[in-house]
Symmetry: C2
Subunit: 491 residues, 2 copies
Amino acid sequence: MSKALPKRSENYSEWYNELVKRADLAENSAVRGCMVIKPYGYSIWEKMQRALDDMFKETGHSNAYFPLFIPKSYLSKEASHVEGFAKECAVVTHYRLKNDPDGKGVIVDPDAKLEEELIVRPTSETVIWSSYKNWIQSYRDLPLLINQWANVVRWEMRTRLFLRTAEFLWQEGHTAHATSAEAVAETKQMLEVYATFAQEWMALPVVKGVKTANERFAGAEDTYCIEALMQDGKALQAGTSHFLGQNFANAFDVKFQSKEGKLEYVWGTSWGVSTRLMGALIMAHSDDNGLVLPPKLAPIQVVIVPIYKNEEQLAAISEVVAPIAKELKKRGISVKFDDNDAFKPGYKFAEYELKGVPVRLALGARDLENNTVEVARRDTKTKETVSLQGIESYISDLLDNIQETIYNKALAFREENTTSVDSYEEFKELLDGKGGFILAHWDGTPESEEKIKEETKATIRCIPLDQKEESGTCIYSGKPSKGRVVFARAY
Amino acid sequence: MSKALPKRSENYSEWYNELVKRADLAENSAVRGCMVIKPYGYSIWEKMQRALDDMFKETGHSNAYFPLFIPKSYLSKEASHVEGFAKECAVVTHYRLKNDPDGKGVIVDPDAKLEEELIVRPTSETVIWSSYKNWIQSYRDLPLLINQWANVVRWEMRTRLFLRTAEFLWQEGHTAHATSAEAVAETKQMLEVYATFAQEWMALPVVKGVKTANERFAGAEDTYCIEALMQDGKALQAGTSHFLGQNFANAFDVKFQSKEGKLEYVWGTSWGVSTRLMGALIMAHSDDNGLVLPPKLAPIQVVIVPIYKNEEQLAAISEVVAPIAKELKKRGISVKFDDNDAFKPGYKFAEYELKGVPVRLALGARDLENNTVEVARRDTKTKETVSLQGIESYISDLLDNIQETIYNKALAFREENTTSVDSYEEFKELLDGKGGFILAHWDGTPESEEKIKEETKATIRCIPLDQKEESGTCIYSGKPSKGRVVFARAY
């Protein structure tokens, strides 16, 4: 709290890193590329988990747990999957250590070498479909709607807290269906679940779309995604939902007997969101004073700070606060009364601002006399003096209002930063200027897409689901195009 | 459902294995020693997690997340810890695969060898205390009360579903304190939390005690435990809580400035329960017909099976059932109405018996006429016909009664199978007979303890916290003893 945060306008990247650390969300560990998620950060993640898990269950899914380790040979069974994941994985080769004969610590026991190496899961399609082979015989066993909350590891050379770490936490849904249509419907349903979660809980507007072939998940027929815009004008992929076709059923020989008695390959989907959402949440809303949390995901929604000169005043304030805190808790609102004597109110104000607590109440002797309280909201940084009469309803409404205001602000920002562009020159200028989502025509070829990426570092974030039919010409090749896609530089 | 379960009296071990698989709790995976926890089994684990997590939070703990990987050198920092854990761990040595030049699949890339090998965490004291070093400076930073839900890996040669698997799920609490007394109090508090959970949720009576030096956690000053008795007369350690003294603070140089301004080493605790509890739950209560679940942990508490001859009857039954199911759900009771036409009632009855659903309602045409329902309870396998009038309260009370009855049955079993013994002959006879908890005098030496273990495979489960002072002589050495300890053969 001693030093101010770096300013977003001066060094967005440094602002993000410092904010994550100072707000006690996460830190780098001594283990290369692995983060420690600290209690305050983890409590936000827990709220995300709970909301998502409820939505998964409402749509008929059950949780299960599959092994951390994947036999090396499994990865190779699906040709494009191995291309995508073999290059960045942690490999277990031994199962024992022994004392170093030199007497210094322990060494790997060469006699304990595994016959087949194990990969720490980068994603679980292979190990799960190898189980599904035994679980699915008939159409009666379908659909199989399973989700897993787990840690996964993808070896990354350049890591950033929450956004890109070697180990991260996520959920991965893996479903199996009797028909292609049903699997596609599931893929789209889960995309909707993610979009609803982003918008209603994270206050984060997202564009729903489908990835180009280049950007598809390794092993999928189609990858749907939600894309969000961060305050620095870069995009962030916030969730993906994959239609796997029969690829993994083929690779692991998963067949079922249809109603008609025919033996057919099963159709699959997989979908996931990860602790990366924490990065999106932070970067979408926070400001130079610290975190701005949407109330629905804030671990502490209301903090009450007493302003007092002596024990007597504190006692009087506490007496007024107690029933208010109790009533707020009864309404499901999380409240903290911070009567810690070690810190001054000003210090506390800055601390809760940094931590993004949506509403702060301050009560002093004058307030007691007037039967009022000072209410400060974190998002707009406005303050007002409010009567204690009916304060619980006032706060409850205020939290709803803050949730909505944060969403609307993010939506307005995205709209201001979404630009239709018709020439490559304009496209490049915009990228080096304010950035944002750029709607432009593309000829549909991987070649143009790759050239644009090479030359500008911008990628096609998605072909939006609500794409309008509009004939135009590709900004790169000049070839005809039937509609605009969303370009951006991205995290 | 085609074949009956093996009988407990004939082959307890086979009964357990078959039950776990047939009730869809878990199965072995293709990855050696790793299990797949299936949706039905996982939903029981989720209920355990939720109840425990609430209790941890009520006692002031927060969740966090620490890395999966531990640098090899960390393990060596605490001398007895490395002895305990280095021998059975998964070692990551490389971070990349590459295409096999032979064109067959992928191989480990020899150029991607890690400078220092990483261990997949068998437990997280080392990696957590290396973080605590940065988190703790002053007495103001203490106590630090953190828990983690995670997967851990201990390489096991002989594995059994839930009871002993290479990878398992658990929670591990890791706390730091300013004084020894406070850390001891925390250790005991968490033991009480575990005992309460076992008794009130799992309906499992437990003996609370402290381990002998031989059986202590590697790196602890004292290990407290709860011990439960299974139906085959063997003990199962259901949870442990360790007082770590200053051992890990010493190893990782974690000091704090006391109120008096002195620099002191921090005192620590750690405590954990795992998916092993699933094994305890199954083995403590279930019978030759399948699972018996205490209602508080049953994923489905009430199943309603309609008995009908035609669509019209089914419609009439459904109409009567709907408001009952709704009212039960309103009371927080989970209900399943199984109108699946593909199976006959008899098949369904057996299936829900196998899965341990505590209460089964069956409704037929006759019941509709009489305004009654057949209520069967899984624990006692008794049935009665009950009026539909007030059925919701009846069921709610019945569930409470079942929870209590299951606990009392397990308690009575344990009491019948707890025997005081005064000679080694008697001790050995009892072990080869009915087994159970054996209360016997021990001279307090590791030598006698080891000899007894060698000769009989019985271990000292604990020195019970409520041990009575009673002078006697050690059953093995004949040397004087001040009180009885609990011996048993154990899982």
